[in-house]
């Protein structure tokens, strides 16, 4: 996707209208200047996380230059990465995110296929409805959901509150509508002749989906997967409400509720935790930036 657009913007630079070329060099310089400013603004917090994570708590409390490390140490990293509690948070987060991504794909891909291709009674309404549920925020639902699961536990004896797997039920409400929406867009852009030919050849709908649509819409699928992963990795409100025991926590909530202790400030460790918590999405982003952006913009350009 991005390659296409880059090609498009290529010719613009060749167009020259006398004095406009001087304007352009100035415009370019100003652009670089402001981009640098904005880039600094964007990168200050992560940079500061990194700096602080390399300091010992004695150095932090000595209140030396906050932007520089005089005695860099990896002790915060060692301490966190050998702490059972922290690893537990990390694994909880990883498991929750991976399972949620799987569930999301299993639900949204067939649904998107059906909604994009197999027009049936109410399918248009349903497609719009799916989109609208994306607009119902977590902060509206957390209280009723919390009470619902408590009541459910009362009735059935199956306890879901304060179990990490309760998140497997809740997170899909955040990921599925948007992923379905992305996939509808991608599937809709596939030429109708393809699946019509397949159906005439005797393929079932399911085969059409797995053999034709999924391979063709793979970029969209990757974008949706990344989206689902980052959303479940970053969620904060639901795990804060639903899980409390330290062995049930996911990373963001774990860091914020157990590393920050009232009277002891171990900010070196907190920043280390925050950095490690930010690492998986950052790594994915570093390698799959184009897919990431495609997934992000899919909502606007296609939906």
């Amino acid at each position: 996707m991005s390659t296409v657009t880059i090609d498009k913007s290529g010719p613009t630079r060749k167009v020259k209208y006398g004095s406009m070329s001087r304007d352009r060099t100035w415009a370019l310089r100003w652009s670089y200047f402001f981009l640098t400013l904005f880039a600094i603004f964007s990168l200050v917090p992560p940079f500061y996380m990194l700096i602080t994570s390399l300091k010992s708590s004695a150095e932090i409390s000595a209140a030396t230059n906050p932007w520089w490390v005089y005695h860099p140490t990896l002790s915060n990293y060692v301490e966190l990465l050998t702490s059972n509690q922290f690893l537990r948070f990390f694994w909880n987060s990883a498991w929750v995110s991976i399972i949620v991504v799987t569930i999301t794909m299993l639900i949204s891909v067939p649904a998107a296929f059906a909604l994009a291709r197999m027009k049936f009674w109410g399918s248009a309404t349903l497609a719009t409805g799916v989109f609208l549920t994306y607009l119902i925020p977590d902060s509206l639902l957390f209280i009723p959901l919390f009470k619902m699961f408590a009541v459910f536990g009362d009735w059935t004896g199956i306890q879901l509150v304060n179990r990490w797997y309760v998140l497997l039920f809740i997170y899909p409400t955040l990921t599925v509508p948007f992923c379905t929406w992305i996939m509808i867009g991608y599937f809709a852009s596939i030429p109708k002749e393809l699946d019509e030919a397949a159906i005439i050849d005797g393929a079932s709908w399911f085969q059409t989906l797995t053999r034709i649509f999924i391979p063709v819409a793979l970029p969209g699928l990757i974008a949706a997967t990344i989206f689902a992963f980052t959303v479940s990795w970053a969620q904060f409100l639901y795990p804060l409400v639903f899980t409390t025991s330290t062995d049930q926590l996911v990373l963001p909530v774990g860091i914020i509720t157990t590393l920050i202790k009232g009277d002891v400030f171990n900010w070196g460790q907190i920043m280390t935790g925050a950095l490690l918590g930010a690492a998986p999405p950052l790594i994915i982003y570093a390698f799959l930036m184009d897919y990431y952006i495609a997934g992000l913009t899919a909502g606007a350009t296609k939906g």
Partner: protein, 446 residues
């Protein structure tokens, strides 16, 4: 060091052995042997203090052959309160939960009465103070066992050097280690003058006015020393009284001498303030000093914990007890009771107090003069007056003596500090009072 600790523990244990046996004996029935017990304890702020409770619980578990699961839950960001609310709603969770101050009362219907262990414990360890009774008892029913862990007095922790230099107050002379305080002149007026002097010198007192407990506790004690209550013991609104007005006036004067952003302070801010060497005094239990000992020893050497300044209606110190409560949905109540009484034996209590560097305050009368408070340092004797050994100040909690369920809201919603801030920021006195009255009316909602 650990050996020394052990030997004293054994000594105390021996003296208490006979009575201890009497208390624990009835529960050793084996009915819960090999059962399970989970507990959510308060995550201690003093580095390393959790280990003593972990050890004690494990000792007990090994003896009783009970499988235990021990969680430490911090109170930062109200994590423990959220957890209590979640477990109360879900009617499931830990068997024992260490609840702060008001929370046993607010969950009274969901807690197992523990009179059967409290009565013998009081006989063994001495009576408990009035605040513990106010918070821990409903209609004669004990809602939990007062936990020594985490229970604290939040008196002043002053910098000896700065107070001497700028405020001309020798805190060590006023509260000498090993003997009774000579603090008759230590009043709110003196305090205010010292605050002014230190502010001028660039080392303002670090007293927060945020919404967390440290801030509310200080305000509570000052309000009480003016005799100010928002709601009285019978549940009547008493916001619009002169005592409340006086307290607000006092706070208005004090606030001018505090750091500019105290409105955003939480329980960690005052500690950071002290440890960073930026202020001459904070109102906090010795955890700040303990952290300073680790990270900024030159600051720790100058710290002195002492009594609260007295106001027109007496000398009050903020006291913040914790309780170990047993949820009524617990499936192993007998084991829970056995553990709690094990943890409340004098030897266990002393072990925990020592591990917390003297931070923890046992609720029982006979246990307020442990050696640890004399010994820890540097400077030696810095904690001698922390446990209020001469009973020269009244231990109380903010918003008392209002009915606990209302008081809890006043406390948790930080109505006191919010009032002070509103008035300080230029709101008319009567408007602030009217606002507070409206809030208190709202808190009576059932």
């Amino acid at each position: 060091m650990s050996r020394k600790k052990l030997s004293r523990r054994e000594f105390v244990a021996a003296t208490a052995l006979s009575s201890a046996a009497l208390i624990t004996a009835p529960y050793v029935r084996g009915a819960y042997a090999a059962g399970k017990l989970s507990m959510g304890f308060w995550d201690h702020w003093v580095p390393g203090a959790n280990s003593a409770s972990t050890e004690l619980v494990n000792e007990w578990a090994a003896k009783e052959k009970v499988e235990v699961q021990l969680d430490y839950i911090t109170s930062q960001g109200n994590k423990n309160i959220v957890t209590i609310a979640a477990e109360a709603q879900a009617k499931s969770g830990h068997d024992i939960f260490q609840m702060p101050t008001w929370w046993p009362q607010s969950n009274a219907e969901l807690l197992e009465p523990v009179n059967d262990i409290m009565d013998p414990l009081i006989k063994l360890n001495g009576d408990v103070n009035g605040t513990v009774k106010y918070l821990g008892q409903a209609d004669g029913k004990w809602l939990g066992v007062p936990a020594s862990v985490g229970s604290q007095i939040k008196g002043p922790c002053s910098r000896i050097d700065l107070m001497k230099k700028y405020a001309n107050i020798d805190v060590q002379e006023m509260y000498p280690a090993g003997s009774a305080p000579k603090a008759d002149n230590w009043t709110l007026d003196t305090f205010l003058k010292a605050a002014e002097a230190c502010h001028k010198a660039g080392f303002p007192f670090g007293i927060g006015l945020g919404e967390t407990s440290d801030n509310v506790d200080t305000a509570g004690a000052i309000f009480q020393s003016f005799g100010a209550q928002l709601v009285d013991a019978k549940g009547n609104l008493t916001v619009k009284t002169d005592a409340v007005r006086q307290s607000l006036e006092f706070y208005k004067k004090l606030l001018a001498f505090l750091p500019p952003d105290v409105a955003a302070w939480d329980d960690a801010s005052n500690n950071k303030w002290l440890v960073a060497g930026k202020g001459a005094m904070i109102m906090n239990p010795p955890s700040a000093w303990a952290v300073a000992k680790r990270d900024a020893p030159q600051v720790a050497e100058q710290c002195w914990t002492h009594g609260f300044p007295a106001g027109p209606k007496g000398r009050f110190a903020p006291y913040l007890p914790f309780f170990w409560s047993i949820w009524s949905f617990s499936k192993n109540k007998e084991a829970a009771k056995s553990l709690l009484s094990y943890l409340s034996q004098p030897a266990s209590i002393e072990k925990m107090v020592v591990a917390s560097g003297g931070y923890d305050l046992p609720a029982y009368e006979k246990l307020t003069t442990l050696k640890v408070w004399e010994e820890v340092g540097p400077p030696k004797g810095t904690l001698y007056h922390y446990p209020n050994p001469f009973k020269h100040q009244t231990l109380s909690i903010a918003a008392s003596p209002a009915p606990p369920k209302v008081a809890q809201q006043i406390y948790f919603q930080a109505t006191l500090t919010k009032m002070c801030l509103r008035y300080y920021q230029g709101e008319a006195m009567e408007k602030t009072l009217a606002w507070a009255e409206g809030e208190c009316e709202g808190f009576m909602r059932s």
